[in-house]
Amino acid sequence: MTQSRKFSWFVFSSPQSFYPLAGAMQPWFAALAFVLCAVGLYISFFVAPTDAQQGESYRIIFIHVPAAWMSMFLYLVMGFWSGVGLVLNTRLSSMVATALAPTGALFTFVALWTGALWGKPTWGTWWVWDARLTSELILLFLYIGFMALQAAIDDQRRADKAGAVLALVGVINIPIIYFSVQWWSTLHQGASVSMKSAPTMAATMLLGMLIMALGFWMYSIAATLARVRCVILERERHTDWVALEIGKQA
């Protein structure tokens, strides 16, 4: 009797098997991102009504909040995978963490930029040093520090592990960003969307925001998959399968 081999997801933890999987998944996530963002943009401009208090300026929320959510979420995912790479010594986990950082940094920048452009008409100022804005700025510096540290260290495994330690030390910043509006009375508005109670904003606004958030999430996955494929090729260039792969591309 032949033994049936059980399929295990762990087979994809090698760069060689993950590379084609990422290549197959990436266009789907890119397409999902495009569709979701298109729907979200349509809702944000043509379905959501004018706000009673803020007029049209509130429409920045459809980018600002999803970008801020992504900036925090991607850092947590990055911290998770680099932690896995540190503890279990898996190369691919660290490669994914490295691939996540630039996208996370860009979303942090977008959150800060759109926040400033929203703050000017509503609060009267481009920037204020309250807890949430300051800790989001620190998040940007943490992303940049992570990328700079990995770039500065020549030995790849050391760079991965050092980056992991830095990312994990910085994880403490995420709850600070999230809970800052509860812990301190700040200028930034409190949470309108929570798991426990009904949201305090109009249904169409909430829908648009959630769809844009999903769109950004799909985009992040697509961008990260594309980037991790580049990282895999660069780091595994000494292997035969990469040589074959490059030969196919030529």
Partner: protein, 222 residues
């Protein structure tokens, strides 16, 4: 373990006192930088009084950060660090001893000289007291967090600027509450909350930083 701690502390302090220039460096840097600000912004007393907590805290922060290069790099260069890793003693204790020595040399003198510099800025007596106390609690946190950055960048090219990039974002909460405590005293709202939070940071850093630094040292020396 206490014996190891005492031994490491004694060794590091002995090494520093053989090159007394290092001790003086951080202190002189602190004094000079603090004195630059009144020269730059003008001698008006009320403006200086407002600026004083921030200026003193940022200067202390920068002085502490500059002296991080002394923490692990010299031992790494002459091979002692490798022996420390191979020793049977727990690395966390050794790291904690080194951090304590670092603070005694680069942090404590700043705390002691801060009142004099605060007088330059026309700070009232109660603000001076809170300033000293906030620095007393805060500078160990700076040494602890800085140790993690120094361990991560051990032997890396251009590590001076890189350590700054890694460590300064993590210093920001300490700076905010340290300088904020003095500001709160000056404005009358009381510094208890700030000082308690600083104490919380110290407790957290004492538990986490030596462990993270030890992990980073092992990674750097693999």
């Amino acid at each position: 373990m206490i014996r190891t701690l005492g031994w490491v502390l004694r060794r590091d302090l002995l090494l520093v006192f053989r090159r007394r220039g290092d001790v003086i460096n951080a202190l002189v840097f602190f004094v000079i930088v603090v004195s630059l600000f009144p020269l730059g912004v003008g001698p008006e007393a009320s403006q200086l009084r407002n600026m004083a907590p921030g200026v003193l805290w940022v200067s202390a922060l920068l002085a502490c950060m500059l002296s991080l290069a002394r923490l692990f790099a010299p031992d790494h260069q002459d091979g002692t660090l490798e022996q420390m890793l191979l020793a049977g003693e727990p690395l966390v204790v050794i790291v904690l001893g080194k951090i304590m020595a670092h603070w005694l040399v680069s942090g404590l003198p700043l705390v002691l000289i801060a009142p004099l510099l605060g007088l330059q800025f026309d700070l009232p007596a109660d603000a001076l007291a809170v300033l000293c106390f906030s620095l007393l609690i805060g500078t160990p946190v700076l040494s602890l967090i800085g140790a993690v950055g120094a361990a991560l960048t051990l032997g890396v090219r251009g590590s001076g600027a890189l350590v700054a990039l890694l460590v300064l974002p993590l210093y920001v909460p300490v700076l905010i509450f340290g300088a904020g405590s003095v500001g709160a005293t000056a404005s009358g709202t009381g510094a208890e909350a700030h000082l308690l939070l600083l104490g919380g940071f110290l407790a957290l850093a004492l538990v986490l930083a030596p462990w993270a630094s030890a992990a980073a040292l092992r990674i750097a020396m693999e």
